[in-house]
Symmetry: C2
Subunit: 387 residues, 2 copies
Amino acid sequence: MTSSESGVDQPWNQQRLRSSNERMLLERLRATPASRAQLARETGLSKPTVSSALASLEAAGLVREAGHHTPERGRAAVLYAPDPSAGYALGIDIGRAWLRVALADLDGTVVARKDVRNRARTSGAMADLVVATAHQVVAGSDVVPADVVHAVVGTPGVYDPAVRRVRYALHLPGWGRAGLFDRMREELGVPLAVHNDANLAAVGEHAFGVGAGSRLFVYVMIGTGLGMGIVADGRPFTGASGAAGEIGFLPWNDRAPDTLEDAVSAEAVVRTARALGMTGTLTAKSVFEAARAGEAAAVGAVRQEGERLAHTVSAVAAVLDPELVVLGGGVGHSADLLLQTVRDTLRRLTPLRPKVAASALGEDAVLLGAVATAMGRARDVVFAQRA
Amino acid sequence: MTSSESGVDQPWNQQRLRSSNERMLLERLRATPASRAQLARETGLSKPTVSSALASLEAAGLVREAGHHTPERGRAAVLYAPDPSAGYALGIDIGRAWLRVALADLDGTVVARKDVRNRARTSGAMADLVVATAHQVVAGSDVVPADVVHAVVGTPGVYDPAVRRVRYALHLPGWGRAGLFDRMREELGVPLAVHNDANLAAVGEHAFGVGAGSRLFVYVMIGTGLGMGIVADGRPFTGASGAAGEIGFLPWNDRAPDTLEDAVSAEAVVRTARALGMTGTLTAKSVFEAARAGEAAAVGAVRQEGERLAHTVSAVAAVLDPELVVLGGGVGHSADLLLQTVRDTLRRLTPLRPKVAASALGEDAVLLGAVATAMGRARDVVFAQRA
DNA sequence: CGCTCTTAGTAAGGGAACTTAACTTAAGCA
DNA sequence: TGCTTAAGTTAAGTTCCCTTACTAAGAGCG
């Protein structure tokens, strides 16, 4: 027999009833401020119940008056809105080149931020830098440290909560060490969750960027490596072992034994450009700039990159059928150059053609995804801990 | 801002509280019969509440006494269990060669079944055959027709509820005609849902087969075509437009322009066997039998099939990271021959290696998936319509 | 046989949270 | 100032859950 979800969930008593209704009202208010009468009409609760629930929320500091609304005729309504200062969340992006930290309120508004170059040589120094920068960001804001409720870190690799360390972090030496994040957690003094950077970028693009409102979309992160984040029904989809979206391992070419990651990452663009005749010190960025200027070898390299990306996207489309594919990562800022080639090649390759778009958040996608994730958790925590 | 899930859900009043608790108790009883006292202990509800809820459920015919249990010491307990005869569900598998219909109770026990060869020449005749066979199955059982609560049909292609017809049903002429399923629905007199066959096979394998308990697994259906069903957290994952798992469209080989479907389906095995020197009238089945007997060309064809499947699986693993890959479909009964090759090749191809297993349900996977899906819906309906 | 121990199940009382219905408050307008 | 209309509150009543205390029933034992 099926069984599966045999775990009996919590019983519903009156407290949970009340709590559930308060939560529903709070979520409704996040969309737009509303009066008690309006909430009653919209939610189906009675006016007295709404009044009482709103009083509780206001007493707990989760909701506050937000002006008035005078209808055509009749008494003016008192509008309520969530109080975004009821808690704060830290988003942290640990990248190869940059460490970025942002502090946001419960509306997702960033109230303080600091980006520092990542010059740490060891993972321990890196951890110290993260903690120090986070403390600076909080100190540089008007936020009381105790009001910072949750933090989320984005990092390459897959964090395994069971052993509390990162796996597959190939490009960061020592980063897989045990105890690293426990130390950060402790010195930070804030609950800290660790997520894969591509997944967070996808979440960020869903919360604030071009993926907004999409029921199923993927974020392809092209840079030093190749990764993908999946957001399904608003939540990250991580697979059975956290390795969903590790498209660097897609089978690519049975002639040459190189990986798709090698074939599509930023270095590959440089390699192709050289093979096509470009010379000098090249970076992916300079190749894209040359292509923009019309240099033939560069254009060819970019075209090949686009074709290979289309190959990747077609594989993803066949398995997942996403509504939208967002191109981002280090190469993302040149996505406009790639889009047309990707779309044209896709048309040749497969009848399954998701929309393809460039990242709207650019370099900030991971950071904002961390912010969005931490904020979501912070909302839960603040609600759960109300008086 | 994020917004997204801005839809306010239903308010929680006392009726919903009661209903929710009754539902929870019912689901708990599906795992194993239990006494009131035991339910109270396990669910956290009080004994009087459990008594009262159980009385309602019993009055509604959803639950019945199921013997007694005498503890070590103390009064004997009255056990309760769900009444599986509170409703019935129809599962229907419309395949190329066979039409299969099964009637199951709310426990998922098949109480009547009929398989007929699919000789219909037109889609209209096919629809008539489906309805007639379904009526025969119900008539041939002890079940009152009014107790049949829901039906689910499995068919190739993607059913689009918006236009109420099937798309991409390449191998079935006329099957994409509008109104076809509306007609069946009407003549059947039972609510009818239409699902993709590979998805249902995956659901079936999750409910009754080798995928039981897996949080994320895929069912690869190899036969006339090539398809895949995905079950995530117990629910089918269909993608944005219902085309998730259409792995026949995976990019395969940039030298030859054929599709992966052509390269992996049953016909491909025959083609390869011929190319390797086999002669006579060959079917996929006969090639597998010859391979089992040790004939070199057949062994070679089977090996190539396994290698190509491994290629497919590695792509799926890179995107989805499933816990388990189940091989099924027409070629499924020979999966044991393929497993070793698939596993060995996977080891060469990728570090992401999901478990690979043969289907446990064989030809019945689609039918049982339809039964499981219809039963799930029937449980909901019966519960919602209790007095 | 009846006493005691133990667990199952019920009855009665009380409290929390919701609803309905009626009332009060406040704003605009004649 | 009084009328109309909509917002918001008060009061009464309902539903459903919980706690406490009781009764019911089986098993071992003197």
